[in-house]
Amino acid sequence: MLNGFKSVGRLALIGAGSEIGQSIVAKLVGEESPEVIRVGRSGDFALDVTDKSARELLVEKIFTKGDLDLAIIAVGVLGNNPGKSEVENLVEAIDVNYLGTVHLLALIAERMKIQAHGTILVISSFAQVRPRVDNFAYGSTKAGLDFYARGLAAKLHGTGVEVKILRPGFVKSKMTTGMAVAPFAITPEECANFAVKALKSKKTVTWAPSLLKYVAVAFTTMPAALFRKISQH
């Protein structure tokens, strides 16, 4: 349970390697000192996101040791590994960003429903707004995740469990090193500020930065020919 000041007592960062995830945890820990479970490729809570039974075991392990107030789901790959073919990259992105993440989301939601409280923060992406030639494979996995998370948020309404979706635009991090910096780019720290805002917000979806909400409207209503032109940089 959150304490009387609504501070988190126990949280899990799924995707300990994520710079956005780390920045969010740093912000939350800066205020108070919750117990933090870091789920990454190694450590006490190691996880291969693509392994179904490993996901089940992990969630079991987290919740047997106590209630969880907040789960930050920051797992994801861009699917641009030069050592792999386009199709292999696609399958990996689906496995990690969609299948693995959505499964974790569903498992955590189930456990939080039993405790009748808790928040899940899902890191979605601006890339899910409209398919762009350069990142639609990644965008499709985030679109699926985002869609599921919104449905889950609605389903859990009134149970004490909340799902919050953060949709960052371009974040200057390890993950995007070497890529052309897109407009409205932010740092992981700036992104974390929006995550904190998302956690306090009554709304399910928060954009990072906020302006992207309007850019998304422009993107989705734009004629295809114009969209093709501007999305080629």
């Binding site: 349970m1 009387g4 609504k6 108070e32 039993i114 405790q115 009748a116 409280h117 149970t159 004490g160």
Partner: protein, 436 residues
């Protein structure tokens, strides 16, 4: 299945969802216990006057106890046999008709017998009478096993239940030794003091002569600790008094806004400090339960809620107050309700709060910036000086500090787990502070 409407304690700062069941009698309770699913557990609850999460059980079940409402008093022996759901104020009414009164009553009459045991409540008479458990001769408890057992002060289970936050079983019945009173009044004397040291001196000097002592302390403005000391003894002049405490005005919802700001507190405290002092007989229950004069007074803090912070510190450690006041002044944290009292002897209960020393109670909106960190640091200071906080009012203690504040905590835990090996009794506070 949890109820979709979250509920909170009196401080309205923690909300959680639970299934709620009520029991009409002991057989009902036994059925509830027998059929319980221990994954999120059960918790007996009363009137939700605890401030934080002591009476919450997210995802579990709360058992409403108010149906256990029988009161039997033997005027000869002064022994009352009272159901676990009986309110202190109901017991007072019944007792007063026989010129009797519970020797220990808290600042509100809206506390059930079960709650009074679970918190080992105290009142203005603590320096003379000790805490509530000192007038309890027997507790009848429904255990997790479904069995009913009687415990007396010679049993460790008795002392684990006293102050045990409802985590040892359901208090079905208590046997209380009442005291004789001459009338329904208290003869009071009030005195204004300019600062904390005057207050401390006056309280110390008055303890021998007065059955009830308490001081209202102004923690706003210059935080020097000016205030009004109230002293009282059971009187023999009958006074006209309201039969029911709940007939007074009740605070409306006020749109969920917090009205407690440094400015409003300062204004209120200025008026309060200068109000005419009372001297002479006043109604016993009005004197005992000043908080009950205005119903729903907790609404004044708005939707985000507030907390009550109460600690005790040894005599001789008064300098901690200077540190506290300086810190609060810096935070611009003004307290609407500051109360200072000198405690007498402690009870044997491992988790009972009162022990010899000074106890100070403060109310704050949880929206005061920096308050969480400040109290966390103050807790550390308190622990280093051997002090502790009152758990029934807690909503934010660091679990690490609890065994340092309550050195017999592990003993309590052992007795408790022997009484409830499968962990049937649970609460949000128990989970937050790793009590079980």
């Amino acid at each position: 299945m949890a109820d979709s409407q979250p509920i909170s304690g009196w401080g309205k700062n923690i909300h959680s969802r639970s299934a709620r069941v009520s029991a009409a009698n002991v057989a009902d309770l036994q059925k509830i216990v027998a059929e319980a699913d221990s994954s999120r557990g059960l918790l007996p609850v009363g009137l939700h006057r605890s401030y934080g999460d002591s009476a919450l059980n997210s995802g579990g079940t709360l058992i409403d106890m108010v149906a256990l409402n029988q009161i039997e008093i033997d005027p000869q022996t002064r022994i009352a046999i009272v159901g676990g759901g009986v309110r202190i104020s109901e017991l007072e009414s019944a007792a007063l008709k026989l010129s009797l009164f519970p020797p220990v009553v808290p600042g509100t009459g809206f506390v059930t017998m079960g709650g009074a045991i679970a918190a080992d409540i105290h009142g203005k008479s603590h320096h003379k009478t000790g805490s509530f458990s000192q007038c309890v001769r027997r507790i009848s408890l429904l255990l997790a096993s479904g069995k009913i057992a009687d415990f007396t002060p010679t049993d460790p289970e008795f002392w684990a239940t006293v102050g045990g936050l409802g985590l040892t079983g359901i208090v079905l019945e208590v046997e209380i030794e009442l005291r004789a009173v001459q009338s329904n009044s208290v003869d009071i004397a009030e005195e204004r003091v300019k600062n904390l040291s005057e207050m401390v001196t006056l309280l110390e000097r008055s303890d021998a002569d007065f059955e009830h002592t308490v001081a209202w302390i102004d923690l706003s403005g210059d935080y020097r600790g000016r205030g009004v000391v109230s002293l009282g003894n059971y009187g023999n002049t009958p006074v006209k008094a309201e039969e029911s405490l709940s007939k007074g005005p009740s605070l409306p919802a006020l749109g969920g806004k917090n009205f407690i700001t440094p400015l409003s507190v300062k204004a209120f405290n200025e008026i309060w400090f200068r109000k005419p002092l009372k001297n002479g007989p006043v109604a016993l229950r009005k004197f005992m339960h000043p908080l009950d004069g205005v119903g729903n007074w907790n609404r004044i803090y708005g939707n985000s809620g507030f907390l009550q912070y109460q600690f005790v510190i040894d005599i001789g450690q008064e300098e901690i107050f200077e540190k506290l006041f300086a810190g609060l002044r810096e935070l611009k944290a003004a307290s609407f309700l500051g109360v200072l009292k000198k405690f007498g002897a402690a009870s044997q209960a491992p988790l009972s709060f009162p022990r010899p020393g000074w106890t100070l109670t403060l109310d704050y909106s949880v929206e005061v910036p920096g308050l969480e960190k400040f109290l966390r640091n103050f807790d550390e200071e308190l622990v280093s000086r051997g002090g502790r906080i009152y758990l029934i009012k807690d909503s934010r203690l660091d679990a690490r500090l609890l065994p340092m504040m309550y050195p017999e905590f592990n003993r309590w835990r052992e007795i408790r787990s022997a009484m409830d090996p499968d962990g049937l009794w649970q609460s949000d506070q128990a989970r937050r502070l790793h009590l079980c």
